[in-house]
């Protein structure tokens, strides 16, 4: 069973999600993966954050 988040945490996460979605530089899928990580039961580590934001399949070249 997923541990319920406190109303304050929910409020912070909601606000955070709005900010992520409003930022055009942040990929929508990456934001969704990050929010899923935060709302889940796993312990959030830097490595998991990086995996959520930049999964290996998304690592492609950026044009000049």
């Amino acid at each position: 069973m997923s541990t319920p988040k406190s109303p304050t945490i929910k409020k912070i996460y909601d606000d955070f999600e709005v900010k992520l979605k409003a930022d055009e530089e942040i990929d929508g899928d990456a934001a969704a993966r990050l929010m899923a990580l935060l709302n889940g039961d796993q312990i959030v580590t830097a490595q998991k954050v990086n995996e959520a934001l930049f999964p290996p399949s998304c690592k492609s070249g950026v044009g000049e």
Partner: protein, 833 residues
């Protein structure tokens, strides 16, 4: 939240078998230290959460719920340690029964076993702070700001915020570092490319012009533009190369790689000149600063341990699946181990900051060594191609550079590497050996002596090398751009989170501080009416500054007394709980809090709790009889239990539940007069205290507070008689003759009952004292017992069983009554016309 109706405890902590009826109302438990009060608190916490903070929280060491939760006689049979709570869930309007044993402390039996009931209980177990001891309550006040931030955030269930913030910050820092290294690699690749074409700068126009100049020399059309995938030799046909291998003719790339092993004189000379001119990228000051920081770290083994453990702990958390440690297989409760590891990570926070600082100082040196290794490699490649043979003085240098780099890379993960790094930094170890400079000169001289190739061959060869370096540059460029973009995203994510959390937290802290200040002013009415407190977040710290009588704002521990700090702790706790739970704050257990608060302020505490949290069931424990009496007289608690003693065999002796008269009779039946006498004496001491305190009897003051039965019971009886007489006079003044007669009879009966106890005889003869009872025959002592029982039961209310206490209007005695108010005597006389 829940309201507790009944609590049943079996073989748990110091309690063998105990039932308490709380009746869903606020309740007081009083008893001297060591009588089992905290065992009740532990039982409530355990039944509602499955945990016992005292056994699993900070400083609990090797203690555990599984091993030390059961009564000492059943530690090997934890299923016998059981707590049952019958309660009411106001939010659902449902009654619930929860039974939890130590053996299955994660799986309570819940009736009714309905999802909404389970969810409500899960939410409750998420707030273990409903049970709070004095030690815990003052921690919000007397603590370092960083710890306060963690404690307050834990209480607000916001500790997750700090953890997420820490993870996002670390992720952003790591991404930024990756980007920095990628940029360094890019710069190196760009320089290498420029050298291949002898370019003064690397603008697109300059690059294109240099390439087209060479293409023109070999007679192929100029490129119109330079793109990432441009092939400088793509349209140079196979016949224009001197390679006979048909496979390479079909694949220009292979050709380029093959040609790059050749010496292209101009490129080689440019490379060597660049290496000769290269200067150290780090300064002496930077290296000295690093040395100093590493020496400081070396002096603090605990800090170093914390840094080293971080990775291990993080890995441990990732591997945590079963109820055992993933490293040593020691049996652990998974949740408890996770909590333990999380606290380790939190401890490492300061270490992380230091680690980031040190890493920032180490990386430039690591980069510099990498550059030197690349330069050495290039010089040796050319030397080999020139047939210069090996230089014995340089044979070990590549390995030496690799070792130096490894030492620096492992400095923060390996104590030996830290020591080696310190020792090495004291030496001029970044300087390349003299032999390297000589080697460069020899290569340079040999290169210059090479015959000049034709213009066409030179152009073709330079384009070949340039192509290889251009491709690498493009690759590095793409890597760098990706890394830069990721770093920007990671930093933006971190900043968005910090902004979101700070915006919400500042609002919360302001609201909590206002509430806290208001509560504290009410506690200290007339003394600190202008008191204000502020909670100010500063990065990961939470500062609490409070006003001190208008002289300025200071930390609470600076000038306020311990009693005031206790009061602040309670006020901050209440403000936090009110903010966190709002109307759902229906239950709290306050274990021996406010012990250093003086009597005047205790009354205010009672009034604050009653007025501000009328729907909250408080269960308060205290060893102070006066404090309990305040709770009763102020209407804070509607019920109470007195713990009179404790034994390992029987657990707490509870006066109200414990039928003292039956117990004494049983001892008399066993002809154990001594024990029966001792029990009666302890019980009468208790009655004497409650009666004298409640009626505010005139008691001879003792500075040591060591009151005996002689000091308390006779004045209590005497004051009760005086008050009853006053009530009779009052009834007469109001013309209530029937009541007057009734009270008159009561006064007479009471006098006779007191007389029958021969209390004054026992009490005035100090040399005999009550020990004399032990010398009586069972029948004789039985008469004494009956006499005291009669007088006490006469005073007690038949409903609430409380002894009477006085109610004052200012300094005037207005009434004496029991707790429930059913038994009451008005003392106020009608004023004369």
């Amino acid at each position: 939240m829940i309201k507790i109706e009944k609590l049943h405890i079996e073989m748990f902590r110091g309690i063998r078998d105990l039932d308490i009826e709380f009746g869903k109302v606020s309740f007081g438990i009083r008893g001297p230290n060591g009588t089992g009060k905290s065992g009740v608190v532990d039982a409530i916490e355990f039944c509602l959460t499955g945990d016992i903070t005292r056994l699993s929280g900070e400083g609990s060491g090797d203690l555990s719920v599984a091993k030390h939760g059961p009564h000492v006689d059943v530690v090997d049979d934890p299923k016998k340690a059981i707590v049952t709570i019958e309660g009411h869930l106001p939010s659902l309007g449902k009654d619930v029964t929860i039974t939890r044993s130590i053996a299955k402390h994660k799986k309570p039996t819940v009736e009714p076993n309905e999802p909404e009931v389970i969810a409500a209980l899960d939410a409750l177990s998420g707030h273990p702070e409903f049970a709070l001891s004095r030690r815990e309550i003052v921690k919000y006040i007397i603590t370092a700001p960083g710890q306060r931030a963690r404690d307050v955030q834990t209480l607000l269930r916001l500790d997750e915020i700090g953890k997420v913030r820490s993870a996002l910050t670390t992720a952003a820092n790591k991404s930024r570092e990756t980007a920095r290294r990628a940029a360094t690699e890019l710069e190196r690749a760009a320089l290498s490319f420029r050298q291949s074409l002898n370019l003064a700068d690397s603008s697109k126009e300059t690059r294109l012009a240099a390439i087209n100049e060479r293409r023109k020399t070999i007679g192929v059309v100029e490129l119109n533009e330079l793109a990432q995938d441009s092939k400088f030799l793509e349209d140079v046909k196979a016949e224009e190369t001197d390679d006979d291998d048909s496979s390479t003719k079909e694949d220009p790339k292979v050709k380029i790689e093959t040609k790059s092993t050749k010496i292209v004189k101009n490129v080689a000379i440019a490379d060597v000149e660049a290496i000769k001119k290269a200067t150290d990228s780090t300064t002496e000051d930077q290296r000295a600063e690093l040395l100093s920081a590493l020496e400081a770290l070396s002096q603090s083994p605990s800090t170093f341990d914390v840094i080293m453990q971080e990775k291990l702990v993080e890995m441990g958390m990732e591997l945590l699946v079963h109820n055992s440690c993933p490293l040593c297989d020691k049996e652990w409760d998974k949740d408890a181990l996770e909590k333990h590891l999380q606290s380790k990570l939190e401890e490492a926070e300061e270490g992380q900051t230091l680690k980031a600082e040190l890493t920032g100082k180490l990386l430039p040196l690591i980069d510099e060594i990498s550059t030197k290794a690349v330069d050495l490699d290039r010089i040796e490649e050319l030397a080999a191609a020139l047939g210069l043979g090996t230089d014995d003085a340089l044979v070990n240098l590549p390995d030496d550079l690799t070792t130096r780099k490894t030492i620096l890379e492992e400095t923060l993960t390996n104590l030996e590497a830290l020591d080696l790094a310190i020792e090495s930094l004291k030496q001029p170890w970044l300087e390349m050996p003299e032999a390297f400079a000589l080697r460069i000169e020899a290569v340079s001289t040999s290169l210059k002596e090479l015959p000049e190739a034709s213009k066409e061959d030179t152009a073709r060869d330079e384009l070949s090398v340039a192509q290889e370096r251009y491709d690498r540059w493009v690759e590095r460029y793409l890597d760098s751009e990706t890394a830069k973009s990721e770093a920007e995203v990671a930093e933006a994510v971190r900043d968005h989170f910090n902004k979101a959390s700070n915006d919400v937290l500042v609002g919360i802290y302001d609201a909590v501080a206002d509430e806290f200040s208001e509560f504290y002013r009410r506690l200290n009415k007339g003394d600190e009416d202008t008191f204000t407190g502020k909670l100010v977040q500063n990065d990961a710290k939470l500062n609490l500054d409070v006003d001190f009588y208008g002289r300025g704002e200071f930390p609470p521990g600076a000038f306020h007394s311990e009693g005031h700090q206790d009061g602040m702790g309670l006020c901050l706790y209440l403000a936090l709980m009110k903010h966190t739970l709002g109307d759902e704050f229906r239950f709290a257990v306050l274990d021996d809090v406010l012990m250093s608060v003086d009597s005047g302020h205790r009354r205010q505490v009672c009034r604050l709790l009653v007025s501000e949290f009328p729907e909250t069931q408080f269960i308060l424990t205290t060893h102070d009889r006066v404090w309990l009496q305040y709770m009763m007289t102020e209407g804070l608690i509607k019920g109470s239990e007195m713990f009179a003693g404790w034994t390992v065999d029987d657990g707490p002796r509870v006066w109200k539940k414990f039928d003292v008269w039956a117990d004494i009779q049983a001892k008399l039946d066993d002809e154990n007069i001594a024990e029966a006498a001792a029990t009666l004496r302890r019980y009468l001491e208790h009655v004497g205290f409650v009666l004298s305190d409640g009626l505010k009897a005139s008691v001879t003051f003792r500075a040591d507070g060591n009151y005996t039965l002689n000091d308390l019971l006779p004045p209590g009886f005497s004051q009760a008689k005086k008050d009853m007489k006053a009530a009779r006079t009052a009834a007469q003044s109001w013309g209530k003759s029937e009541l007057e007669q009734e009270i008159g009879t009561a006064v007479q009966t009471f006098g006779e009952l007191v007389e029958a106890t021969q209390a004054n005889n026992w009490m005035t003869n100090a040399s005999v004292h009550y020990n004399e009872w032990a010398n009586l025959e069972a029948t004789e002592f039985g008469e004494v017992v009956q006499a005291f029982r009669s007088v006490i039961e006469f005073l007690q209310c038949g409903t609430c069983e409380a002894l009477p206490h006085a109610v004052f209007n200012g300094v005037s005695r207005e009434q004496i009554k029991c707790t429930c108010g059913e038994k009451a005597f008005d003392l106020t006389k009608k004023k004369a016309a």
